[in-house]
């Protein structure tokens, strides 16, 4: 095996002349996190609403929610990314579509990437929220309604506070997923961490140094997220209640 390692590459000036390669990759991490966080906020909002709607007694709302989930779950993320980037601007009214297409470089791919990841992840969160609500003892809703709470109040004050605590571990892994999935945005030209490792490899020919750095940065990010979420879990824990939602073993 003949491969000449050159670990000093990280401190050599990058091709875009803004700093070293290490700096170039760190900026990539910034874009990864910016994409993942924006998509996460969107996913959490939409996913919670859809998840709740799917547990209500209203049949057609449940069916609508199920259809929403199935659509976003059965189309590959890459295809969805291309739909948001190439197809959606064409289907918008002409003026708006043109405005979207003419956005300056990072934003022109950042916005579709966030929309795509947000909706894609919202479906997974909707599943977790639904499973979490259904894993609560039925008596909780009955007790709430017996106390005279309306259905929205029962969700707001009884079911949801418990559900979110129960599904915190699976939500952590969904957050890790959205960080990983944001790498697919490189296909529509967003220079996030993986995209920058790829272009570092292309410009500097240092294949394995580039990917090794990206791998280590991803691992560290994962570690930090897991530690932070564990702290959050400890903070919001309800004494005497050890709940666990059915946690899927598959997926990524």
């Amino acid at each position: 095996m003949k491969y000449t390692w050159d670990w000093s590459i990280y401190f050599q000036p990058a091709a875009d002349a803004t700093g070293t390669w290490l700096h170039y990759l760190i900026v990539g991490l910034g874009w990864t996190l910016a994409t993942a966080l924006a998509a996460w906020v969107m996913a959490l909002l939409i996913g919670s609403v859809v998840g709740v709607l799917r547990t209500t007694p209203m049949k057609w709302v449940v069916r609508l929610g199920n259809a929403y989930v199935e659509i976003f779950r059965n189309v590959p993320l890459l295809v969805q990314m291309f739909l948001w980037f190439f197809v959606v601007p064409e289907l918008l009214p002409k003026q708006l579509g043109d405005a979207v297409k003419q956005m300056p470089p990072p934003w022109g791919s950042y916005l579709p990437a966030v929309l795509c990841l947000g909706l894609y992840t919202s479906v997974r969160i909707a599943e977790q929220v639904r499973a979490g609500i259904q894993s609560l003892p039925r008596g909780q809703l009955m007790a709430a309604t017996a106390l005279g709470l309306t259905l929205p109040q029962a969700y707001r004050f009884v079911l949801l506070p418990m559900t979110f605590r129960v599904i915190l571990p699976p939500l952590t892994s969904e957050f890790l997923n959205v960080i990983k999935n944001s790498s697919v945005a490189l296909t529509i030209g967003l220079l996030e961490l993986t995209g920058r490792a790829r272009s570092m490899q292309e410009f500097s020919f240092k294949v394995f140094e580039a990917f090794a750095a990206a791998t280590i940065i991803y691992l560290l990010t994962n570690l930090i997220v897991v530690l932070l979420m564990r702290m959050l879990e400890r903070k919001v824990r309800v004494p005497g209640f050890i709940g666990s939602a059915p946690q899927g073993t598959g997926g990524h």
Binding site: I71, E90, S183, A197, Q201
Partner: protein, 230 residues
């Protein structure tokens, strides 16, 4: 809304899309599934074997694969496999491996991590008494696993394994990043050649949806049947 669109392009290219692209996608999915389940089961057995070192190695591998994005893994293997090949046969230069083999290796290694988590849950779902009973009958480790534990673990986990395979089927579209012509890659080529992006990508989305959705319905039915029999 669809005036000015040319859906003829699908009629002109569907033979190419399915003959070239879908064949690649399906072959890759099936080979990676087989390899992934075999390797994944071995990883799961290593983690549950009780040997500390084996468990650490397998656990480290699974966690590493599960914490980096698939796109990065595809890049890694795309460049790494030629070097590993050269190292294996003692060649001076990296060997040309070919896109297909490179993809099969990548997806086998990547999905093995996910399959191994499923198989681990499957093996753990078998009552410990069964292992003890197998040993009491004089079966060795491989016989206990092969005749008693694994057949039941597979059966219990079959729906989950198949669901993971549907995810794998969708994930194979990511070979686009190394310019391989799978179903999506073929469609992207046609889309760019004829400048029919809207039509082609919509068509691709619909095809993927129909296949994945019908497969997931089948898995659901299988799950119900297994649940009744058990």
């Amino acid at each position: 809304m669809f005036s000015g669109y040319d859906f003829d392009v699908i009629q002109r290219s569907w033979a190419y899309l399915f003959r070239e692209g879908m064949t690649f996608t399906v072959t890759l999915t099936l080979m990676a599934m087989t390899g992934g389940i075999v390797f994944g089961t071995l990883l799961a057995m290593m983690r549950l074997s009780g040997f500390k070192l084996l468990g650490l190695v397998a656990g480290g591998y699974v966690n590493l694969m599960r914490s980096i994005p698939l796109v990065l893994v595809i890049f890694w293997f795309y460049f790494l496999v030629p070097y590993i090949g050269a190292w294996l046969i003692g060649a001076e230069r990296p060997v040309a491996v070919g896109a297909f083999l490179s993809c099969v290796i990548t997806f086998t290694m990547f999905e093995a991590a996910y399959y191994s988590e499923i198989m681990r849950a499957g093996i753990q779902s078998i009552a410990r008494g069964q292992v003890a009973a197998g040993q009491a009958l004089g079966l060795n480790y491989w016989q206990t696993m092969g005749y008693v534990v694994l057949p039941q673990a597979f059966r219990n986990m079959l729906p989950v394994l198949l669901t993971q395979t549907i995810i794998l089927f969708q994930d194979t579209s990511l070979v686009y990043v190394i310019s391989v012509t799978d179903f999506f890659g073929a469609a992207a080529k046609v889309a760019n050649r004829d400048y029919r992006l809207v039509e082609m990508y919509t068509f691709v989305a619909v095809v993927y949806f129909i296949i994945s959705f019908s497969l997931s319905l089948l898995v659901k039915r299988l799950q119900q049947r297994l649940a009744v029999v058990r």
